[in-house]
């Protein structure tokens, strides 16, 4: 599935002997079977519907392995595709990733350029391998201030969003370039524009300007702002995982994470693997009763 997007070294594959290939195939089948067993046991308990990732640690990974920063980001992308596959297998319906913060534009221009090129390359790969997306009926969102992206990236992102808009399966949302405070400001702007248009409509439709100006207008509510967030229509994240052990949210989904379980595992993002995801879900299951109780109390108070 998405694994096809993870680049393999063709030379390595050609050098393998037939016996080795069969052994690898048997090993992979065994791994798949064991993975399914573990998922079956995990699924006895509550499973998260929406998992969000702050993919931190690509540069540190590259530094620790003495490779280029760009390569660190590429390995990070492979880890992302693998994590998507594992989340999909576990029945997670919504996956959101913090791919690029608005603050990241402050980085070295060469690095920003490398990241933009990587994003463009991967988005175009997804556009070309449509059968892969269609297999999981994946809807892809790009949340953020897309005007800040370079034109090729923005055009590719909009094209991918449009081509997957009707899909009803896995929802994969990529936040780039994104800030929670920018998202909230954007929602306020949209709401204000909506109100202005409503008033203009009332004014145009009414022959008595006094009636239009004196018409009742309700105060903006939290629900009104919810409707205009990028995440409208998506449930709030159940788990937010920030890799590399950092404990801050760095302006990510601050509005949506009231009752999200915040986790900060030590591995760097390229090292994040299936067992870390299993551990994350086990931790979530342990606090699930508390979180659900809080959500129920909050709903009652509304």
């Amino acid at each position: 599935m998405f694994a096809s997007l993870i680049s393999h070294d063709p030379k390595m594959l050609n050098e393998k002997k037939p016996d080795e290939i069969i052994a690898t195939g048997v090993l992979e089948s065994l791994q798949n079977f064991l993975r399914k067993c573990v998922i079956a046991v995990l699924s006895y308990g509550p499973m998260p519907k929406h998992v969000a990732f702050i993919m931190d640690g690509n540069r540190r990974y590259a530094k620790s392995r003495s490779i280029k920063e760009g390569t660190g980001h590429r390995v990070g992308f492979s880890a992302l595709m693998a994590s998507l596959l594992y989340c999909y297998e576990m029945g997670v319906k919504y996956i959101t990733v913090y791919a690029f913060s608005i603050d990241n534009f402050k980085r070295d221009p060469t690095e920003v350029q490398t990241l933009m090129e990587l994003m463009e390359e991967k988005i175009n790969e997804l556009l070309e391998n449509k059968n892969v997306i269609n297999k999981v009926n994946c809807k892809i969102n790009f949340w953020g201030n897309l005007d800040m992206l370079t034109e090729p990236v923005r055009v590719a992102a909009q094209k991918l969003m449009a081509s997957t808009a009707q899909n009803t399966g896995l929802v994969f949302s990529v936040c780039m370039p994104y800030n929670s405070t920018s998202e909230i400001a954007n929602a306020v702007n949209e709401l204000c524009k909506e109100r202005k248009d409503m008033i203009q409509g009332q004014h145009a439709g009414s022959c008595n300007s006094q009636t239009a100006n004196g018409g009742t207008r309700s105060d903006i509510s939290v629900a009104d702002l919810d409707r205009h967030m990028y995440t409208a229509g998506c449930p709030d994240p159940d788990i937010v995982i920030r890799t590399s052990g950092e404990t801050r949210l760095s302006n990510f989904l601050l509005w949506q994470t009231t009752f999200s379980h915040l986790q900060n595992p030590d591995p760097l993002w390229p090292e994040f693997s299936w067992r870390h995801l299993v551990w994350a879900i086990l931790q979530y299951q342990r606090v699930y009763p508390y979180i659900e109780q809080n959500k129920t109390l909050a709903k009652k108070q509304l």
């Binding site: 046991v41 306020v188 949210l249 379980h261 299951q285």
Partner: protein, 251 residues
């Protein structure tokens, strides 16, 4: 449900319970080790935790589960510890406003006493005097979070719409609010306040429970466990771990 599928379900359930029991046992062991470490920190036996540098903690936030927040003895004890450690500004938060109600009477009396002094924009602030150090205390609740942002949005929109009403142009100019505008509006509606450098979560889970978004952007969030089992050593350790943090702020 057929018998084989019932057996499979029961087996899965049993395995699931066994996994969680094993995790609980590991957690118990690590909790005991942690308690021992806290004891050693409190007694001053661990050198690295002596002479804490708190200059980077200009504002500390505490998020407490609302049910646990009713334990005001523990809250006061925690505040005493923080005063002793030299924390200058503490922001207490619980989603239901239990802490606000508890501290409100004493805040109102101190506001009356200080009626001649300059009042902070946020009306939930009180200065706690101690014989050695002064600590500013702020109490906020869920109504200062999302609802505060809604109030600020209301203020911005009303100002913009009222401005439009007095123009005679039929084509309205699009006023675009920036994050700076939102920050100013939040301050105007009484939901401003400093961004905490460190946030300690007291409760069963590491959740910020709706702490105001505008003040949580780059805050380090640390989970301290339930309030009833809070330890002085754990607070010291949290400050020590914070002192080792380094932020790029996106760079």
């Amino acid at each position: 449900m057929s018998l084989p599928s019932r057996i499979i379900k029961l087996t899965l359930g049993l395995l699931w319970c066994i996994i969680h029991v094993v995790i609980s046992l590991f957690n118990l062991c690590s909790h005991l080790m942690f308690n021992l470490e806290c004891y050693l920190i409190s007694s001053g036996l661990l050198r690295k935790y002596r002479n804490l540098q708190l200059s980077r903690v200009k504002c500390l936030a505490i998020v407490v589960d609302s049910r646990e927040a009713k334990n005001t003895v523990k809250i006061n004890q925690l505040l005493c510890w923080l005063k002793t450690l030299g924390v200058k500004y503490v922001c207490l938060y619980d989603i239901d406003g239990v802490l606000k109600k508890f501290f409100e009477p004493s805040m109102n009396s101190s506001r009356d006493d200080n009626s001649g002094d300059d009042l902070d924009v946020c009306a939930n602030i009180k200065a706690l005097d101690s014989s050695h150090r002064e600590m500013t205390l702020e109490c906020i609740s869920g109504s200062d979070g999302k609802e505060g942002i809604a109030k600020a949005a209301n203020l911005l929109c009303s100002t913009s719409l009222n401005g439009d009403r007095y123009t005679h142009e039929s084509v309205k100019t699009e006023s675009v609010f920036t994050e700076t505008d939102m920050a100013s509006a939040l301050k105007s509606v009484g939901c401003g306040g400093p961004e905490p450098d460190l946030l300690l979560v007291y409760g069963p889970a590491r959740c910020h429970l709706g702490f105001p978004a505008w003040r949580l952007r780059y805050t380090e969030i640390m989970h301290m466990g339930p309030l009833k089992s809070m330890k002085y050593g754990a607070v010291v350790k949290a400050f020590y771990n914070f002192s080792k943090k380094y932020q790029n702020y996106g760079k």
